[in-house]
Structure formats: C-alpha cells, structure tokens
C-alpha cells in the first residue's frame, strides 16, 4: 500500500458506514434509497484506490459497471417506490410490515407525528368560502363536496361553481 492510500480508504469506509446508518435509521423510502447510493460512493472510492494501488485499470472499470448498475437500480427502485406510494399515499417504510408476527407485542410502535402539520378538517357544517365577489349562498342544488377524506389537498378545494354563477 502506498502511504497516501490509507486516507482515501478511510474516507471510503466512512462514507460506506454513513450510508449504512442512513439505510437503517431513515424511514423515508426515498432517503433509504439515497443512503444506498452513498454506500455505493464509498465502495467506488475504495475500488478506485485499490486500482491505483495496484497500478491497473480494473478498479476504474468496475466502478463504471457499478455506475451502470446503480443507474438501473435507481430506475427500478424509483418506479417501485412510486407504486408503493400509490397504494398508501405515504413514503413511510414502516407501513409495509406484513412480515411481522401477528400476535407480537409491538415494542417499537410507529410514532405519532411530533408537529401537527396535517391540515385539520373543517367542520362539515361550516360554510365554504366561495370565490371573492360571489354570494355565500348555500342551497341544495349547490354541489358541495363534503370533506370525507383526510387528504388536505382535497379538503381545501370546493367544487367549482357553474360558469354562469
């Protein structure tokens, strides 16, 4: 080993381990993915250093293949993440815990949100704000979409009024 390779290897190992921590501790599907990429960086750096040490090009060639595989993995992984997101409307990885023993005492329950950033549902009886300039009139013909979903995007959008309103 050349004398100066050690620090490069140390940086590679540190990046690898940081990625590992992220992989284990993060609960966001996309960030888990990113952590894996960070681990790949560490491995790439190590490979390159080894290649340099042995004075050949195999390390670089391998890194290029790793790059290729990482690109494939990112493409497939992101589409999988998207389809998982479609099912639950959430990126929380803990939702997918079907493998757990059913009668197990949950020693690590999913935590509740710390800050309540979720938009609170409006009281269903309260009148909706209409467009500025319109009359706040509610009659039975007015198609009011009641807030039945917890999705905040839908709660805040009343049904569009008719053109001639």
């Amino acid at each position: 080993m050349t004398a100066d390779s050690g620090c490069y290897l140390a940086v590679g190992a540190a990046l690898f381990v940081l990625g590992g921590i992220g992989f284990v501790t993060r609960r966001n599907l996309i960030l888990i993915f990113l952590s894996v990429e960070l681990m790949l960086h560490g491995v790439s750096l190590t490979l390159l250093t080894f290649g340099r040490m042995h004075n050949n090009l195999e390390g670089q060639s391998f890194t290029i293949f790793m790059l290729t595989v990482a690109a494939c993995e990112a493409a497939l992984g992101l589409s999988l993440v998207l389809s998982l997101y479609q099912r639950t409307k959430s990126l929380d990885v803990d939702i997918w815990s079907k493998l757990s023993e059913p009668d197990l005492p949950k020693w690590d329950k999913p935590v509740q949100p710390l800050e309540s950033r979720v938009v609170r549902e409006e009281h269903p009886a309260s009148p909706r704000l209409t467009k500025a300039g319109g009359l706040p009139e509610i009659d039975d013909d007015f198609p009011v979409e009641l807030a039945t979903t917890t999705d905040p995007r839908k709660v805040l959008t009343p049904s569009p009024p008719d053109d001639d309103y």
């Binding site: 140390a10 993060r26 990113l34 790439s44 290729t68 493409a75 497939l76 589409s79 949100p113 710390l114």
Partner: protein
Amino acid sequence: MSDSAVQGMLYGSLAAGAVGMWLATSPRTGALRVLGSFLASAGLIAAVAMFSGPGGDVTNKILFWMFAASALLSGVLMVTSREPVYAALWFALATLGTCGLFMMQAAPFLAAATIIVYAGAIIVTFLFVIMLAQQQGRSFYDYRARTPIMSIVASWLMLAALLWNFQVWQKSAPAPETGPALTAEAAANPFSQPSELNKVDSLRALGLSLFGDYLYAVEIAGTLLLVAGIGAIAIAPRRAEGTI
C-alpha cells in the same frame, strides 16, 4: 507518535464521531443537532487524519482535505437531515466531494461520469419524486430515526474494524506494484504497449480496457440498462391525470 497513541486517538475521535452522530439524529432539534453534526464529521475527519495523509505538494493536501471534509460533512448531514429535499441536496454535495477524490485518484473520467449520472440525473429524479410525493411538506416519519443507538453502535464498530484493518495493512504495506509484467504475446500487441498515452490515468487507457478486456461485460451492462428501463416503465403505476 507512537502506535498506541495513534490507536488511542483514532478510537477517541471515532467515539466523538459516534456521540456526535447520536446527537445529530432526530428527534432532537436546534443547536444540539448542529453541534452533533459538526462533532460527527469532525470525528470522522480526525479519524481519517490518523492515517498518513496524501502525498504530493500542499495543493494536493489542501484539495484532499477539502474534498474529504465536504464529502463527510454532507454525508453526515444527509443522513441526519429531516427534510428529504435537503437530504437529497446534501447527497449531491457528498457526490461532488467524492468526485473530487476520484479526480485526485487519477480517475477524471469517472469523476465526470459520476457527476453527470448522479448529480445530473439521479438526484434530479429523486428530487422530482420527493416533490411529487411530499407536496404537503415534511412528514412525521422523517422526524424520528428508527433504532438510532443500535445502528450507530453497529456502524461505528464496523468503521473501527475497517480502519483498524487498514492500519494493519498500511504497516505491512508491500512495495507499490508497477503493473504486471507483459507476456510476449501481449508485448506484440500495439495496444498493450506501455506508452505515455496508455498510462493508467489516461482516458485512452480506460477506453482500451473497457472496450478491450471488458467488451462483453460492457455490452451486457448496456443490455441491463435497457432491460431496467423497460422494467421501470412496466412497474411504474398507471395513474389518473394530475395525481401520482
């Protein structure tokens, strides 16, 4: 410095890094996290510094520490950041730092390619997905790390094992190789001739290696990319317009 002193400092800085990491993880807030992040990256850098630094001139040394520090610091911040978007951006910075190190390891092409692929393509894709999926802002699951202590202990043990290993190796370092001796057959091949153009750090040499030695592997990797592209299209959910 004596060996044991180096060892002690190495493990000491690692321990400091671990504590910093523990401080930096959610659900802590505010100054504690900032302090933790810097402590963690400082510990890591210090651990790296226990190895004999890069050879060469001062510029070389400055560049190395700059790149290494930026890579490690942004790595720590990426892992501990609460905001997915920030995490992605920290990751981009970590990629840049790593690419700098690539460059210093005589791999300029790889550095360029990694920046293009990661910072250019993958990070952008990730950001797109994050923005599409988290329009309502931060989510509670980004606010709490899962099993932080256990994973930090395990990871730092692994890091210590790796670094210790490197140290052992460094002490018993063999003489640097000057490349394998060429066989008579290879010597007759003009592409295998060691020349100024065919040096290890030249792009030409890498090209010859890839499209000579690893031609089939390159073709297979190309096919793999194609298949992955088709697969991604097939897996990605069909969705109604305006939603994801």
